[in-house]
Subunit: 461 residues, 2 copies
Amino acid sequence: MWNSVCEAISAQLGDDRIVKPEDAEGRLLSVTGEAMPPVPILRPRDTEELAKALGICSVHKTPVIPMGGSTGLVGGLRHTGKELYLSLELMNRIESIDPVNRVATVQAGVILQNLHQAAEDVGLLFPVDLGARGSATIGGLISTNAGGEKAFRFGMMRDQVLGLEVVTASGQILDLSNSMIKNNAGYDLKHLFIGAEGTLGIVTRVQLRLRPQLPNVHTAFALISDFSAALELRSKVETALGNDLTAFEVMWPEVYEMTTRHRSGRLPLPVANGIYLLFESEAGTARDPEAFENAMVALYEDGLVEDMAIAASEADRQDMWAIRNDIEAIIRTMSPLLAFDVSLPVSSMESYVNTLNDELTAKWPEARFARFGHMGDNNLHIVVTIGQDTMLRKDEISAIVYEHVIAMKGCISAEHGIGMDKLPWFEMGKTSSAIALMQTIRTALDPNNILNPGKTIGAVG
Amino acid sequence: MWNSVCEAISAQLGDDRIVKPEDAEGRLLSVTGEAMPPVPILRPRDTEELAKALGICSVHKTPVIPMGGSTGLVGGLRHTGKELYLSLELMNRIESIDPVNRVATVQAGVILQNLHQAAEDVGLLFPVDLGARGSATIGGLISTNAGGEKAFRFGMMRDQVLGLEVVTASGQILDLSNSMIKNNAGYDLKHLFIGAEGTLGIVTRVQLRLRPQLPNVHTAFALISDFSAALELRSKVETALGNDLTAFEVMWPEVYEMTTRHRSGRLPLPVANGIYLLFESEAGTARDPEAFENAMVALYEDGLVEDMAIAASEADRQDMWAIRNDIEAIIRTMSPLLAFDVSLPVSSMESYVNTLNDELTAKWPEARFARFGHMGDNNLHIVVTIGQDTMLRKDEISAIVYEHVIAMKGCISAEHGIGMDKLPWFEMGKTSSAIALMQTIRTALDPNNILNPGKTIGAVG
């Protein structure tokens, strides 16, 4: 099925640009754990090679599925057996780090952690961070507009991108390079390609904004009685810390219990039936190191907080974040499970969580939950299990989860994207005119429907 | 010429929705000072009325020029005598301010200062600010993606917009409402309409992100020997102040001289032949009030700064900003003049300014300059006069100004947009494929070419 297109590509680019299915075995599992038969992987060495290859795919009408670090969570790598995978793993060069103008120019295959390191080496910061930093690629992060815990302070991936280079479906190189923070000369086309999950073009090179490092880092873990206290606390913490607040995370009690159950050593806070908040401040050197602790003591004395731990060392801090990020512990305890990534007005989060609890346990008394997220930017992660039938009931459970999100004016995908998994729910909360415009744009940019067909906004036409 | 379209609109919406040309006299001067014969002004009362009116304009193929507060600087209101103006001045309602979720929902005709006030009333901040705040409208600010001095900290207008409602050229209402910071469900269509100067649709309603207020404000004015010291100072100030640095402005000596020449009372700094920097820090309450002053004293003791003034009161602070913002003084001193708004890598600003000086004075020995801008976000404003011939030589002077901007990888419009004035230079620094994609999008969204035809990206097709 792939013979003619692969031969044409090999003839143009050389034999080693295609990994054969038999050699690709073991590389093609998505993290959702589905086994999929391998398909060939196209690995261009540079933008020009990719342009040629996409031109050939366009003529052959062979669809292409772009892959980044394969760390996506919405089935973006699912294939129908007809597609080629496209990996930019050979295009992994950090081309330049400009410390004066604070711009990194990198190829799309660069791994996030390598960019973090390169920025750090010149005393700068690239502020998007997430658990998959060791494998997620810049191209994948841009195509999914990745978020993470600092989005409410520094923005999502979209907000770091100054300019980019894209190869379109027909194999045309579209140069939208820019290193300026302010550029109002015509339509800002880059935004079309950010968060489009590779359906409108393949991002190949990018200029990213870097920031000054913030050496003065302080972290606290607080236990409060209920969610309404979390809203009050957020206001007070922001009034005190202002711009320096860079993370504001929430965990319901079951999550703290699960992620600390098998921990050795002292826990920062006791296991209790309250809401856990983890927040962090990052400031310049002019910040009095004791200002954070003083602000925390004032909050404690206010009586809003039941208990509080302040990280006294970097090891303490790492330990707190390890509890927040121990998704493995949740998976171990709850599997089989369904994981949801939604956004909600913070004022509705509590009633949402309660509604979900009531409806799901009424239907499946054995239903259990893990609820946590980036409260600072509306983002809630919800894990649900009803025991052995969980996967069988996926559609019913998803319908309940998403219906209430839409009713409360939230969004069914906060930071993970649509991929394949969320396609059945994609139209919820959207007007038909908005969907029609998305389809118009997709058809204009990919008339042969070869870029990730059937994903993100579904089938077109 | 307008009779049939105006009659059709009046028949549908009522007589008072069109201001006749004879009644519009005196309202239609752009700030660039050109006198233009009046044209009728369409003033819908709500989105539905606008949709009906645009539908009628579309059928009649009558072009429409959207106007905001008429404070634009690039000739966006220039007409050919065939268009209708479209004003949303009757759609000026602040529909809601949600203090918990920090979202303002406003109609596009709301004046910026009114939004500032409404946010302040609930203890919140809307961070985009500029001199025209008393007349610029939210719709105009979105359509031009306005910047201002705090863009490097809080972003431009684009970065404040969570969701919006647009009426398309055909009179369709496109509802892209959203109040979530994180929303990754499909293409983020709102970005198409932000900064498009009304050529792709008319923004009618918008959800804007509000921020916590930062009560701890400190301001300093520094005099340094040369621009290379400014780069060093920026690094040191950011290391000290971190996230709290919200403005970093630069003025060359001629600007300080012009804007202080007729000031009574003591000046914050002497008139000298150096570079003037104005910067501001806004912090939460946990910031030690003396931290700013201590950081400034440390800079001074470093020897990097020739002289420095720290605002000791709000009156001092207002005084410093009045010097920075006294554009009137520049206009009085230099007219006739040409004003340019460009962006440049900070590392190239000095050599850019020198090159410009050399080339222009070689050609016109009487050439004089005023150079200032938002150094923190690459944005330089350059005012040029060569005396009485200035307007006659506009194209030659502009060519020199823009050629070097492009050669140094800057941008010909940092924050003012393209409008009509910058159209001849629009293609500089852009690839033909990028321009073609802009035209494809414009044609797809406005097939009859009735929205601001001939502006922003020029004639299509």
